[in-house]
């Protein structure tokens, strides 16, 4: 049986308007699912059940009054715990912000709240969004609903797992080097990272500002289009947000892929890619070909260097962004410090985990006098070359295609001791963060272990529409019905 919590948001929206269900019903359904599975999945750090119930009732009253509400009205959703929520503790998965209660809302949530969406709670993540397995959270790992012994991916592991397990209908995450698309792939849901600047970063607790992008988790492409449309657009509180025409990205979703020119990034189907991933992606290519898309191999000659450049630029920005956690104004404060330097270093020593410290040190070093040009300067040049690679590719192609991640979900603890192996999880997702282009991970089947594989589609700057249209065509053609065993059992 299908519970309300397992339906896509657009179906709930229809039912609310047809009087077939209420937002309160949907919220209760999610809360029951959380109750049933979250002890094992551990996707949520905080569940705001009372607020969610109250909000859902208020929205239902407006439906009863026949108000014309936006598509997000009454949809239960979860937010990654790097997105600030007024009055609701927001930790970034870190001890240093364990007690931090933001005095303001991030813009994406402010917009969704305004549109009537219902917040279920805040989801677990790698500390300050640094990680690819969700094992770097100070509050423990998240378990992949498809196999509780495996990771959900990261850093937005909690949001991906929550949507996969039906604990939330929608979730927001953040994608700095793949932190939405990679966990979406590993959890078998749709993860969409729009163009950098399309969604305001105001209230997104910064990891690497020039790369951080708010992204969405949904169980279908149509919902991704609706959710992004609800939060996109210029924000006067974010100087890097782009001025774009407001539009509903769900329009034109059914246009199909006939005539679309798609470039296959051949290097991404070579060494280091699991056979199950390769097979599922190649099968998807065949399907898209039957639907009328044409394929050729695409070259991104500098993509090989993208990972190295990323691991200079992101830590450099992080070393500066995380300097503010010093125990003076908010968050953790070390006890009995003898002076301000002692206060700063002990607060940070106690408050940050190993991966965060590693990246702060990397970044501090990369920006230091005498090293700046060799590291940061050089990495910026690589970034420019990657952007040019994409520009050249998009002269020939409407989209690029490849796997989202070289592997499906790996076992908890498997890579935890080997940062470099972990960093390779994001090797296919990082290039579009460097370029700021939109890309999506859409489920394209299961591997031989029964774990989901994600297909990545990458588009031109601000061409979300084409990315979504192709992803939707593939999704409709595949018609995947498999659900995590946990969901089958709970439903």
């Amino acid at each position: 049986m299908t519970e309300l919590c397992d339906l896509p948001g657009h179906e709930l929206a229809r039912m609310y308007r047809a009087g077939e269900a209420t937002a309160a019903d949907a919220v209760e359904s999610c809360l029951r699912r959380i109750e049933a599975v979250d002890g094992r999945v551990e996707a949520f750090l905080r569940v705001t059940a009372d607020d969610a119930r109250e909000r859902a009732r208020a929205i239902d009253e407006r439906f009863v009054a026949a108000e014309d509400l936006p598509p997000a009205a009454g949809i239960p959703l979860a937010l990654k715990d790097v997105l600030c929520t007024r009055g609701v503790t927001t930790t970034c998965g870190s001890r240093i912000l364990e007690s931090y209660v933001p005095p303001y809302d991030c813009t994406p949530w402010a917009r969704l709240g305004e549109a009537g969406a219902v917040l279920l709670g805040k989801t677990n993540c790698d500390e300050f969004a640094m990680g690819s397995s969700n094992e770097n959270s100070a509050f423990g790992p998240v378990h992949n609903p498809w196999d509780l012994e495996t990771v959900p991916g990261g850093s937005s592991g909690g949001s991906a797992a929550a949507v996969a397990a039906g604990e939330a209908v929608w979730a927001l995450g953040t994608d700095t080097g793949g932190s939405v698309r990679q966990p979406a792939a590993l959890c078998g849901v749709v993860g969409f990272k729009p163009t950098y600047g399309l969604i305001s970063r105001y209230g997104l607790i910064a990891f690497a500002s020039s790369l951080d992008t708010v992204g969405t988790f949904t169980r279908g492409v149509r919902d991704a289009a609706t959710l992004v449309s609800a939060i996109a657009g210029k924000d006067r509180l974010d100087a890097t947000s782009l001025l774009t025409e407001p539009r509903d990205l769900a329009d034109g979703l059914d246009g199909g892929v006939a005539g679309m020119r798609i470039g296959v990034v051949r290097e991404w189907l070579g060494e280091g890619v699991e056979p199950g991933v390769k097979a599922a992606v190649e099968a998807a290519i065949e399907r898209l070909g039957r639907l009328g898309a044409t394929f050729e191999d695409a070259a991104l000659p500098h993509a090989d260097f993208a990972l190295s450049a990323y691991y200079i630029l992101a830590p450099a920005e992080c070393s500066s962004n995380l300097a503010r956690y010093d125990g003076v104004r908010y968050g953790h404060r070390a006890a009995d410090a003898v002076d301000v330097i002692d206060l700063n270093s002990r607060t940070r020593g106690e408050g940050f985990g190993d991966e965060v410290k590693r990246r702060i040190m990397l970044g501090t070093y990369a920006l230091s006098a005498g090293y700046y040009e060799a590291y940061y300067g050089q990495a910026q040049k690589v970034r420019t070359l990657v952007i040019r690679d994409f520009e050249a590719a998009y002269e020939r192609f409407d989209l690029l295609l490849g796997p989202t991640s070289p592997t499906t979900a790996f076992r908890i603890g498997e890579k935890a001791g080997d940062p470099l192996a972990m960093y390779l999880s994001d090797i296919f997702t990082i290039p579009s963060n460097l370029a700021g282009n939109p890309s999506i991970s859409v489920p394209c089947g299961l591997d031989e272990k029964g774990l989901p594989v994600g297909l990545q589609l990458l588009g031109r700057h601000l061409d979300e529409a084409t990315v979504l249209r192709a992803a939707h065509a593939l999704e409709q053609d595949l018609g995947l019905t498999a659900r995590p065993p946990l969901v089958e059992e709970a439903a």
Partner: protein
């Protein structure tokens, strides 16, 4: 013995008097209850982002244009990273290798000579908060705790940097006076050194006279008035000359000016200098002003002090020194022009009242808008109703307090008696002896007779007038 010449460059920080802070909507005003003019953005809360204040960017460009600098077609904010608790993000949003403007110059007058000081750059950044060290001994190192006030954090701060082209402490002073006058004329800042809205660091070195290479540079901090900059530069130049005279090498360092003791002392050496790890601020897009915007700002520039000085000298017959004093603040220059026009008196005569009495004795903000009172006092003196000595007194009181000049004259009994006819007749009738002596040619006696007139009028007569009238009567 080698003659050493001083080489001085000044780095001034100017707090802009915009309505709101640089990157958030908090009110930008001096003082206030600690931490009341703050918000999540200027407190550096997680997730907040800076949004540039357009007015602050425009004012910075205006300062650059007024200095004849080149506004860059593309400039960037950078992050300057260092840990200090009065800086909420532990980095300052500042500018580095792509400032808003470069070049330009400031003309200064010293001893009647004009020197052109080249400018290095004008850039925009945010101010920090203030740390108050709770120390019973007055020494920071012995403070038990510190308190932070973030009201000032995020206030727009413009850095104006000269080339090292000043050659004496006097030139340093003149440069600061001229820069302050220029900033005031632009109306971009309160430029109050005592409140910290104008702050100045000095880079000082010496070298053998005529040499082209620069000597070892010392940066001096903590001067809080133009006078203390001049004093600190003088002390430092002397110290360096003496050290070199003794054959001691100088070290590149930052030194602290001690106002009470009148000395500088070492704060940190070059080796201990911070590594600020500058990198481009990813939260802010580049600033790319087009020609149209720059031209619009250029057209909005008011008449600048140098031009005004020239005009005062050339068309109002004011001396160059008077012109310098009159244009030291726009309030004085404006009042002066209004007074000349309304009083219909020669510029130089009016200027005397300003430079000798008003400017030295009345605070500029008290004088603002009081042209009517000044004109009235000048008229009273010109009509002989009060003496010019009394005029100075009335001017200071009336302009300083806002009371009407006539009331001050009345209250202090300063009115001169102009109708002396009767008194003169009486004095002549009552002093036949001296009158006779005068008529016989004993000129000196007139002083005695004037004294009698003054006595009879209780001092209210104009003595020159009395003498003139006595002579007139006695020689007829």
């Amino acid at each position: 013995m080698t003659e050493y010449e001083a080489v001085v460059g000044l780095e001034c920080h100017v707090e802009l008097s915009t309505a709101t802070k640089m990157f958030c909507g908090c009110r930008n005003e001096f003082g206030g209850e600690p931490n009341t003019r703050t918000c999540p953005v200027c407190l550096g809360h997680p997730g907040t982002l800076p949004v540039p204040n357009r007015e602050a960017v425009e004012r910075t460009m205006k300062i650059a244009l007024a200095l004849d600098g080149e506004v860059a077609p593309r400039s960037l904010f950078h992050r300057k990273n260092y840990f200090y608790p009065d800086m909420p993000k532990n980095y300052q949003i500042s500018q580095y290798d792509l400032p808003i403007a470069t070049g330009g110059h400031l003309d200064i007058d010293v001893d009647g000579e004009t020197r052109r000081i080249a400018m290095n750059r004008v850039h925009l950044e945010e101010d920090t908060g203030k740390t108050i060290h709770a120390s019973t001994t007055g020494r920071i190192a012995e403070a038990e705790y510190a308190l932070e006030d973030y009201n000032r954090a995020g206030v727009p701060l413009v850095e104006v940097v000269s080339e090292p082209e000043m050659r004496s402490p006097e030139e340093a002073r003149a440069y600061l006076q001229e820069l302050r006058a220029l900033l005031e004329a632009l109306g971009v800042s309160d430029v109050r050194m005592e409140e910290g809205s104008l702050r100045c660091d000095a880079n000082v070195s010496v070298r053998p006279a005529g040499a082209s290479e620069l000597g070892t540079k010392v940066e001096i901090k903590n001067m809080n008035s133009i006078r203390s900059v001049e004093r600190a530069v003088r002390f430092e130049v002397d110290r360096q000359r003496e050290a070199l005279g003794r054959g001691e090498p100088l070290v590149q360092e930052t030194r602290h000016w001690d106002e009470d003791r009148g000395v500088t002392s070492s704060l940190r050496s070059k080796e201990e200098a911070f590594d600020y790890r500058y990198f481009p601020e990813p939260d802010l897009p580049p600033m790319e002003p087009d020609e149209e915007w720059i031209s619009k700002l250029r057209a909005e520039l008011p008449e600048l002090p140098a031009a005004r000085r020239r005009r005062f000298v050339e068309s109002l017959d004011v001396t160059p020194e008077q012109a310098r004093i009159l244009t030291s603040a726009p309030v004085w220059a404006d009042l002066f022009e209004e007074t000349v026009e309304a009083a219909g008196q020669p510029g130089r005569a009016v200027a005397n009242w300003f430079t000798q009495t008003l400017v030295p004795q009345v605070p500029a903000d008290h004088a603002a808008g009081k042209a009517d009172a000044i004109v009235e006092v000048l008229r009273l003196v010109a009509d002989g109703e009060i003496s010019s000595t009394a005029g100075k007194e009335v001017l200071v009181e009336a302009v300083g307090t806002g009371r009407p000049p006539s009331e001050v004259v009345e209250e202090r009994g300063l009115k001169q008696i102009t109708d002396l006819g009767g008194v003169i007749d009486d004095v002549i009738a009552e002093n036949p002896g001296p009158v006779e002596q005068f008529r016989e040619g004993k000129e000196g006696v007139v002083g005695f007779l004037v004294g009698q007139v003054m006595k009879k009028t209780g001092g209210a007569a104009n003595p020159q007038e009395a003498q003139r009238r006595l002579r007139e009567r006695l020689s007829s």
